[in-house]
């Protein structure tokens, strides 16, 4: 029940994403190309954030003189 509603809501959001980015007009293989590009760029950004997070947090704490 709740899963069905959740699925409906997610599918509505996907439909809005398709409309706004004009992927609605593209053929399925073009959608796959665009989505994989977008997901790979987003994944790389998240991974970079994850790798550099400790360094960034240490720099912030150093700036606010919480830790030497």
């Amino acid at each position: 029940m709740a899963l069905g509603d959740c699925w409906k809501q997610l599918s509505w959001f996907y439909y809005q994403y398709l409309l706004v980015t004009a992927l609605y007009m593209l053929e399925p293989w073009e959608r796959t190309v665009f989505n994989s590009l977008l997901i790979s760029v987003a994944a790389m950004a998240v991974y970079t954030g994850y790798v550099f997070m400790p360094q960034h947090i240490m720099a912030i704490l150093h700036y606010f003189e919480v830790v030497q």
Binding site: L19, V20, T21, A22, Y24, M25, E27, E30
Partner: protein, 516 residues
């Protein structure tokens, strides 16, 4: 809201609104077009290197070193953007385009490059796209009977031009009726509305004349103005300050290099602009025209029959004198259910056009059943057929339908352009994917709509255009409005940021603006 500056010239409130595009929507629309352009280049690349089959016209191998024919933006747009949602246009109709029509069901196996008719027919689609303002597109009734009788009498083809052997007595009768309807001395009718504009403006102006034309004039007016060879200056849409400035500059400075006075100055405007739904500011234009001694050409293609308490068009709507407009042009396609155009004016002008117009000399004259349809429908509107049905059923119904439809759409939260009294209702869509989605979703709900994008509109301002008809009943409009609201929620089209008034509990029909 646009407030008229010279409010004293207007006898009734003139309320127009063109709400500004929300910034986020504009940015997202440009982003959508950017993504489509990138994929367009990708597909062109694949087509060029023969990785993909090319369905469009291409230059031959020997011509590849010449100036490219298909590289400009129009062709790029057609190949890569228009083709993807092409199933929304050119839909074949297999019944009379009245309030309800039948569509031929078609599928495309290869993404709109080719279409196949499955043999099924989608029946009783509510027609919100036909220019059927007074509901004369019907196959039964007084008009159809009269047209049938005239086909039996005259046949269908005329086989000649007006000047040679094609001037039938039914044409003379029709022209006298049109002149009486408009309130002018004399009128002349042509077989095609587009040709009326493009072939008659060259006969009226020439080199040494100045044409001041509105920014958003129809292609036929622009073509006629260019063919005439006159100097053309464009003023901002419906903007009287811009027009006055151009008039003053023209009179003060004269022709470009010689500074001689212009032979004549012709202001070319339309009654209702069909892409915007706006009505021309006629009282102010007539005041300007009288002051600066210019001539006025009014193209009432959409407004004749559809505006005014007696259905006589924009002049009647504002309560002005038809003798003030020098050349009144209009078409019979929209409100009269026929085809063709007319020009009305002083007797000398029309006699001159009868001999000098290209359309009169070379184009075949109007077909007799079409002329009879015009005569019958005009008599019904004027009330000369003995009943008041024309006025009651058609004019009043159209006015009520327009007010109701526009009010409901505005209350729902859509951005609607144009004047409150115009039967053409553009609903803004903005994003390219929503153009295709809106058209398809409405057909799924059995409502046929017209969606418009570039190049008929500016690139981010794509819209869906509804044409209200007197043949629509309140139930049909309610069904259509419910479907539009549903699709609007599904596609997130309710962009309006105006403060929404509380919906009135009952819409009373005494609020009709049709005043006797």
């Amino acid at each position: 809201q646009n407030v008229p500056y010279n409010a004293s010239l207007y006898k009734r409130p003139f309320v127009e609104s063109f709400e500004e595009t929300p910034l986020l929507v504009a940015v997202l629309t440009y982003m959508g077009y950017g993504i489509l352009t990138v994929f367009g280049y990708l597909r062109d690349f694949l087509r060029h290197w023969n990785i993909e089959k090319c369905h469009v016209a291409r230059e031959r191998e020997e011509q590849k070193d010449f100036v490219p024919l298909y590289q400009d933006f129009e062709n790029f747009y057609t190949r890569n953007l228009y083709m993807r949602i092409r199933d929304n246009w050119n839909r074949p109709i297999c019944s009379v385009p009245g309030a309800k029509m039948d569509l031929v069901h078609r599928v495309s196996p290869d993404y709109n490059w080719t279409f196949e008719h499955t043999g099924k027919v989608v029946k009783d689609v509510i027609n919100m796209g036909s220019y059927n303002y007074l509901g004369f597109a019907e196959r039964t009734g007084a008009c159809a009977e009269a047209a049938l009788k005239s086909t039996h009498k005259y046949g269908v083809g005329v086989s000649s031009t007006r000047c040679e052997m094609g001037n039938l007595d039914i044409h003379e009768e029709m022209e006298q009726l049109v002149a009486r309807f408009l309130g002018v001395e004399s009128a002349m009718a042509f077989g095609m509305g587009f040709a009326t504009n493009s072939m008659n403006i060259p006969a009226l102006t020439g080199k040494g004349c100045l044409i001041l034309s509105d920014e958003l004039n129809h292609a036929s007016l622009v073509l006629g103005a260019r063919l005439s060879g006159s100097t053309i200056r464009v003023f901002k849409h419906n903007n009287m300050q811009s027009l006055e400035k151009l008039l003053r500059d023209a009179i003060v400075h004269g022709q470009p290099r010689t500074h001689r006075p212009w032979k004549k100055i012709l202001i070319v405007v339309e009654g209702i602009y069909s892409m915007e739904g706006s009505i021309v500011r006629l009282p102010e234009i007539i005041a300007l025209k009288k002051r600066y001694k210019a001539y006025l050409y009014l193209d009432e293609a959409h407004s004749i029959g559809a505006l005014g308490p007696r259905g006589r068009g924009v002049v009647d709507y504002f309560g002005l004198d038809p003798k003030d407009v020098d050349i009144m042009m209009g078409t019979f396609t929209k409100s009269f259910g026929a085809a063709g155009g007319y020009i009305g004016g002083k007797k000398e002008l029309i006699d001159y056009l009868r001999t000098q117009s290209h359309s009169a000399l070379y184009a075949t004259s109007m077909s007799p059943p079409v002329a009879q349809q015009i005569i019958t429908s005009m008599k019904i509107i004027m009330g000369e057929d003995g009943t008041q049905l024309g006025k009651e059923n058609r004019l009043r119904q159209l006015s009520e339908n327009t007010t109701y439809f526009r009010q409901r759409l505005r209350d729902m939260g859509f951005i609607i352009y144009g004047n409150n009294d115009s039967p053409v209702v553009p609903l803004m869509l903005y994003m390219p994917a929503k153009i295709g989605a809106f058209g398809r979703e409405m057909v799924k709900r059995n409502i046929g709509t017209v969606v418009v994008g570039f190049p008929a509109t500016p690139i981010i301002e794509s819209r869906a255009r509804f044409c209200i008809s007197a043949a629509h009943t309140r139930e049909m409009l309610d069904t259509a409005l419910a479907a539009i609201s549903e699709v609007g929620d599904l596609l997130q089209l309710k962009y309006s940021r105006r403060v929404q008034p509380l919906p009135s509990l009952s819409w009373s029909s005494e609020e009709s603006l049709l005043q006797d």
